[in-house]
């Protein structure tokens, strides 16, 4: 549905977005990650046709956004950053206006507004003027505007920003549900959101795509991924460390918590595919030593760690030294 090729945007001499390429198909939810100022919003503005790219191309449903903007825009719903809306209008007036601009009239318009209101839980504030609403309601009003015409493509710039945990949960559920039938791109700072909602994630840093994969693929790039956390009752951490280090395929063992009652160590395999075999060896070791094991599990890796090491290479290295 969405094809982005070599997208580049220069503001003066500064490259805000530098050769970004990716594509999103129907049924996919693409998470757009990156530190502040990485070029996420600029990319989304180019995809939605708000600003023209310096070079490169965007096609939505086969329509080039620069050459043929109207049919491309028709397929898209867009929630801009900070969820702007006309403060002097009521929620109902605003949604009806958006529906009309989308070419919906009469009964079709009424149905579209009702559907969006229901999906975004706006019934209670329908006839209130937007300027009197709290941030969460304003946000949802703008979100409702983006789905008013049931678009095939949804571009959401930080859809959960400024919402309380319950609202965040509702919006995530909504995105996940809509993602089954639509192509969705959404940007966020919240990494747990990516894990719970996205089928694929892109990390963008200083205008470039630095990682592209499913959340579990990305997590595998974490140092922690494949490590085994091992918690044993009544054995000293040093003892644990010495004994586990002798097993084949162990690269290193780190003491996580040294507590006389329950010690925790983390064991890193020499290569990630050996992790499962290593976990079995650990189990056998525990049997031989008659240890009381409280916990033995393989770490999946953590997205925030991947995010940090990818987007902050300098400080990442310093941290390791």
């Amino acid at each position: 549905m969405i094809k982005v090729q070599n997208l580049t945007k220069a503001f003066g001499t500064k490259l805000a977005v530098n050769g970004v390429s990716f594509s999103v198909e129907r049924g996919e939810v693409l998470g757009f990650l990156g530190p502040n100022g990485a070029g996420k919003s600029t990319s989304m503005r180019m995809i939605t046709g708000f600003i023209p790219p310096t070079s490169g191309s965007v096609t939505v449903g086969g329509h080039d956004i620069v050459e043929n903007p109207i049919p491309a825009k028709r397929l898209m719903g867009y929630l801009p950053e900070n969820a702007p809306s006309y403060h002097d209008m009521t929620v109902h007036g605003f949604l009806a206006f958006a529906a009309e601009l989308r070419g919906l009239q009469g009964d079709a318009r009424k149905r579209a507004v009702n559907r969006a209101v229901e999906m975004c839980f706006l019934e209670g504030v329908l006839h209130q003027s937007i300027e009197t609403l709290s941030k969460g309601f304003r946000h949802r009003t703008c979100f409702a505007q983006s789905i008013i015409h049931d678009p095939d493509v949804l571009i959401l710039d930080e859809p959960t920003d400024g919402l309380d945990p319950n609202q965040k949960h509702e919006i995530r559920t909504l995105i996940r549900r809509m993602g089954e039938k639509k192509a969705i791109i959404f940007s966020t700072h919240i990494l747990e959101e990516v894990e719970s909602v996205c089928s694929r994630a892109i990390i963008i840093d200083r205008g470039r795509v630095v990682a592209n994969g499913t959340p579990s693929e990305l997590k595998l790039r974490s140092e922690l991924a494949g490590a085994i956390t091992f918690k044993v009752v009544g054995v000293s951490a040093q003892d644990l460390k010495d004994k586990t280090s002798q097993i084949n395929g162990v690269r290193k063992t780190l003491v996580v918590k040294d507590d006389p009652s329950v010690s925790t160590v983390r064991i890193y395999p020499s290569s990630k595919p050996e992790t499962e075999a290593l976990a079995q060896s650990l189990g056998q070791l525990a049997l031989r030593e008659k240890w009381v094991v409280q916990d033995l599990h393989i770490e999946e890796g953590r997205l925030d760690e991947v995010f940090r090491t990818i987007t902050l290479p300098e400080t990442g290295q310093e941290g390791q030294k």
Binding site: R45, P52, I70, N82, P84, F97, A98, E100, L101, R102
Partner: protein
């Protein structure tokens, strides 16, 4: 969806935006009060002893000088400040439709304010028998004049997200269009310059020169074209300014 219905939708929204806030009511009241003051107090409506609305229309260029930018200053600067411009221009519409729709809404609003001055016309018809043709062309001229100022405000409001800056810029531009043909200025230019064509050329840019014809009851195509050209040029410039903002 065709152009006309897009423009209609935008115009409707913008117009209801005026009436959703006190802006519209404050503006109309002040406009009517000032128009009355200028006509009867400063314009010497009764002293003239004529059945004409000369003293009413005479002040319109000055009245509009401050009041029209007050209506137009928010048109685009507010969209930029709130970020709704991003919303509007990512809808399946062209920037032109948005520009024309917003312009038409404020022009309609000014037309409404102008129409509410009808008691002046009734008064003069009651007191004497004015030339209704002249009154009608004067109203048309006044409406075109307001449209020209408004298009200029539209342009300056696209330049900045600050309404005050937008207001001041458009007052200055409109003032220039008045002064270029204002008798004290043309006389001064006459004295300074040897070339009478210079004065003529400068005066030809003035709204005063072109508004005069309407007040005398003549519908000169050149005058209509002049105002239409200012509106067209300003709106075209607005579209260029908006495009350049988006291009970064």
């Amino acid at each position: 969806m065709n152009s006309v219905s897009v423009i209609k939708t935008i115009t409707k929204r913008e117009l209801s935006g005026y009436f959703a806030s006190p802006v519209a009511y404050v503006f109309i009241v002040i406009f009517l009060l000032l128009a009355g003051f200028f006509t009867f107090m400063a314009g010497g409506f009764f002293e003239r002893n004529e059945a004409s609305l000369m003293s009413f229309f005479l002040w319109h260029p000055w009245l509009y000088l401050f009041l029209v930018p007050a209506v137009g200053m928010r048109l685009w600067s507010e969209e930029r400040r709130l970020g709704t411009m991003e919303l509007l221009l990512t809808m399946p519409i062209t920037p032109w439709q948005a520009i024309v729709g917003k312009f038409l809404a404020s022009w309609l609003f000014l037309a409404l304010a102008l129409a509410l001055t009808f008691p002046v016309w009734m008064t003069v018809s009651y007191l004497g028998s004015p030339d209704h043709g002249v009154v009608m062309t004067s109203y048309l001229g006044s409406l075109l004049l307001a449209g020209a100022y408004l298009a200029i405000s539209c342009m300056t409001s696209a330049m900045t997200r600050n309404q005050v800056v937008s207001f001041i810029l458009s007052v200055v531009l409109a003032l220039f269009l008045i002064l270029a043909g204002w008798p004290p200025v043309t006389k001064l230019l006459d004295q300074v310059s040897e070339n009478p064509r210079l004065v003529e050329t400068v005066a030809a840019f003035s709204v005063m020169t072109h508004f005069e014809g309407f007040q005398k009851g003549s519908l000169d195509l050149r005058d209509i074209v002049f105002f239409a050209a200012i509106i067209g040029f300003s709106l075209f410039t607005t579209s260029i300014i908006i495009r350049s903002h988006r291009a970064g």
